[in-house]
């Protein structure tokens, strides 16, 4: 027993953390990310390799379903915590670790989390009932709390074969139960309770399976709250539709646009603070992009510099850490070779769709957009301690004009489906990362014009 507990202690010393970030929780995400780096806890790419599910931000009942699916996909030993505010994040992580050790988590979560009984039950009914595969009798319907992992978790399987159903394919793209109604749409036969994929011509005229895969809302290095409903053939995106998960509306301005929104509301905001926020915002986007591009080293550096910028280091010091990073990325011929020609967005088209930020300035491909970020990072790092206040005319935040008829990120979301069609999966992810829409913008109480809360 002693040996067992010591083994468990050593094994969970660095739990794999799956971050489920809700829209509107950027401040908390940044804090938790920095804390995880400090602790040396790895961020899992998906539920299979995770131990600890950390939900970042305030929960709403509407999202329980995707969080629940995610939770079921994580193999035991596992624990789930919510970091709803920066002040409570450290304590939440500590509690997660303690729950992992005690093994009490499963019951704890099953009974006490916000999940209301109906949703919970409905979910399991859906998961279990159409599952005729008696694979091994290794699980019963009762033990799902402690062995969510062994459940066939509609998830992955669902995403593969099932038309409009869901899945975690991408770690839960579930937005509610509406999609279940679509079961009837399939007449292709059923395997293990999952309808077979339909077929259609691909770009070379071959008849191939078309898989309907929801991507998001929880995926490593992915904009929080974004769900892309993809139609895939092989790994080529044939169609993409953008959705957002429901999020509570708050009075707190979105973190990255905060200085400009405050300034336009008549508050005095130092120009230096705005430059600092812009610099950090682009460094955050850059870190995400580099991680998607598979350049972990540079991504970690970008995130480190981002945290320094937010911690308030002096402009000269910030510049001296920004310059080598930027030079390294700008000079990388491999990155240019790999990202040139992807996701081309001419400026007329961007303008037409209402894009006002770096994506408009770049007037080109993924690589061009990254270069615009680099320029702006370099410039704003130097301005971090600039005197003066932000004028009413300064309205251009990290993703575009904050005073426009449209939210800056709404325009970026509008651009996405067109750019993604025909792209390979890896390219699609790079395109999304190079635009990096910020869904926090939709959670603010008084944006100029709000898009529909949910499509």
């Amino acid at each position: 027993m002693e040996l067992k507990s010591r083994l468990l202690r050593a094994a969970t010393a660095r739990p794999g953390v799956l971050l489920a970030v809700r829209p509107g929780a950027t401040r908390e995400r940044l804090f938790v990310e920095a804390e995880l780096v400090r602790r040396g806890w790895p961020c899992a790419a998906g539920p299979a390799s995770a131990n600890l599910l950390v939900c970042v931000g305030e929960a709403t009942t509407a999202e329980d379903d995707w969080a629940e699916r995610l939770w079921l996909g994580i193999p035991a030993p596992k624990a789930r915590v919510t970091a709803s505010a920066v002040e409570r994040a450290v304590e939440a992580l500590d509690r997660g670790r303690a729950d992992l050790l005690s093994g009490a988590h499963q019951h704890h979560v099953g009974r006490h989390e916000q999940t209301d009984g109906d949703l919970h039950r409905g979910h399991h009914e859906h998961q279990e009932s159409p599952d005729p595969a008696p694979e091994s009798g290794r699980h019963t319907h009762d033990d799902h709390n402690s062995h969510g992992s062994e459940h066939t978790n509609g998830s992955s399987a669902g995403a593969h074969q099932h038309g409009a159903h869901e899945g975690h394919a991408s770690h839960e793209g579930h937005n509610g139960h509406a999609a279940h109604g679509m079961h009837g749409d399939h007449d292709m036969g059923v395997v293990a309770g999952l309808p077979m994929a339909a077929r259609a011509d691909d770009r070379d005229g071959l008849r191939l399976d078309r898989l309907h895969v929801p991507l998001g809302p929880v995926l490593a290095d992915w904009p929080a709250g974004l769900v892309l409903r993809l139609e895939l053939q092989g790994d080529v995106v044939q169609q993409a539709a953008v959705e957002r998960i429901a999020a509570p509306i708050t009075a707190r301005p979105p973190f990255w646009n905060e200085p400009w929104l405050r300034a336009s509301a008549g508050e005095r905001v130092a120009r230096g603070d705005a430059a600092r926020r812009l610099c950090a915002a682009h460094l955050d986007s850059l870190g995400r992009f580099l991680a998607v591009a598979g350049w972990d080293d540079a991504a970690a550096e970008a995130r480190h510099v981002r945290d320094r910028a937010l911690a308030g280091v002096a402009a000269t010091e910030l510049t001296s850490s920004v310059v080598p990073l930027i030079r390294r990325i700008r000079r990388s011929r491999t990155l240019r070779w790999l990202t040139a020609g992807l996701g081309v967005l001419p400026s007329e088209h961007a303008h037409h769709l209402g894009v006002t930020g770096p994506a408009l300035v770049a007037d080109g491909d993924v690589h061009g957009r990254v270069l615009v970020w680099l320029d702006q990072i370099e410039r704003s790092a130097g301005d971090c301690d600039a005197p003066g206040t932000l004028g009413a005319a300064d309205v251009t935040g990290p993703r575009g004009r904050t005073d426009g008829a449209n939210l800056p990120s709404q325009a970026l979301l509008d651009v996405l489906p067109g750019l993604l069609e025909g792209a390979e999966f890896a390219c699609a992810r790079l395109i999304v990362a190079s635009l990096d829409p910020d869904l926090d913008e939709f959670t603010w109480a008084a944006p100029p014009v709000r898009g529909p809360a949910d499509d």
Binding site: G40, P75, S149, D297, T334, L335, W337
Partner: protein, 301 residues
């Protein structure tokens, strides 16, 4: 001609390889900012206590077969790998054997990607097949060039042929191509797309617990074996002054591995849709030209 190895070498081989893979993984971890050498061990322990998980309608035996095949293929390939001048078995067609075992990885990754019935892991499987198409052609030409230079498919003969001059010196293109394909065949480093983070781990996306350890450590093993095989093929194997043969082999292998691990941190992941063009339009003709030069030299010897 290499000396025959004692029988216990058969048992020692997997252990030595595992130790080497562990060391390389630790070295890789240390290079990361704020990381510590103990992390790969901790990570293995973490996965060890994890329960297996299953996706719906998964083909579990297929997945297990795939993930187990990977380390098995790596160890089998290492049978012809000489330490100094001794390998576990110096087969007359050692180079063909090595290539055949390495090609087993194709099946391993594809089965692992297909089995869980999950889109992301399936994409990982697809990616490795595309990768195979891209790297295998120049790779085969590169190892054929080394065999041509020694006029033998026996690894021991290839090492003996380099007693004077290393093949890397007069076949630099083949050596470079071999290093690229060593990374690609072990889908490690800049060629890690089949298990990429952008597809939540790709072929490994649905693996947890022991399955995951077996698969991922299989990848490290394959990486170490593929990189180590460049030493007998191009870097003169155990040949070198002063030190005994085994020490030279270890030293050269360590240098190659350290170089690859270091280089990985300097470049992003290479996507096959771009690499295949380079592989077929530039690397394949280059490898053919290299083989031609070597053939002419050998004929005039």
């Amino acid at each position: 001609m290499t000396d025959p190895a004692p029988l216990w070498a058969v048992l020692a081989l997997p252990a030595v390889l595992a130790g080497a893979a562990w060391a390389v993984a630790s070295f890789d971890a240390v290079l990361g900012a704020g990381a510590r050498a103990a992390w790969p061990g901790r990570e293995a322990l973490r996965l060890l206590v994890q329960q297996p998980r299953r996706t719906r309608a998964a083909d579990v035996p297929l997945t297990r077969l795939g993930s187990t095949l990977l380390p098995v293929a790596a160890v089998l390939a290492a049978v012809v790998l000489p330490l100094g001048f001794r390998s576990v078995s110096d087969l007359p067609e050692g180079i063909v054997w090595f290539n055949a075992m390495e090609a087993l990885a194709w099946a391993a990754v594809w089965l692992t990607g297909w089995g869980p019935n999950s889109t992301l892991s399936l994409i990982g499987g697809y990616r490795f097949l595309a990768q195979g198409l891209a790297y295998e052609l120049p790779h085969m030409l590169a190892i054929t060039t080394a065999a041509l230079g020694a006029e033998s498919l026996r690894v021991g003969d290839v090492v003996d042929a380099q007693a004077g001059l290393w093949f890397a010196v007069w076949m630099p293109a083949a050596f470079g191509i071999y290093l690229l394909s060593a990374l690609a065949m072990s889908f490690w480093g800049p060629f890690d797309q089949p298990a990429g983070r952008d597809v939540a781990g790709g072929a490994a996306a649905e693996l947890s617990g022991v399955d995951r350890i077996v698969f991922l450590s299989g990848r490290w093993l394959l990486f170490v074996v593929a990189a180590a095989f460049s030493v007998p093929l191009f870097l003169g194997g155990g040949h070198g002054p002063l030190l005994p043969g085994w020490a030279w082999t270890l030293l050269k292998t360590a240098v190659v591995l350290a170089f690859l691990v270091w280089a990985r941190r300097r470049i992003p992941t290479v996507r096959m849709e771009r690499y295949v063009e380079l592989a077929w339009v530039v690397l394949t003709p280059l490898a053919v030209a290299q083989a031609l030069v070597v053939a002419v030299v050998v004929l005039n010897r």
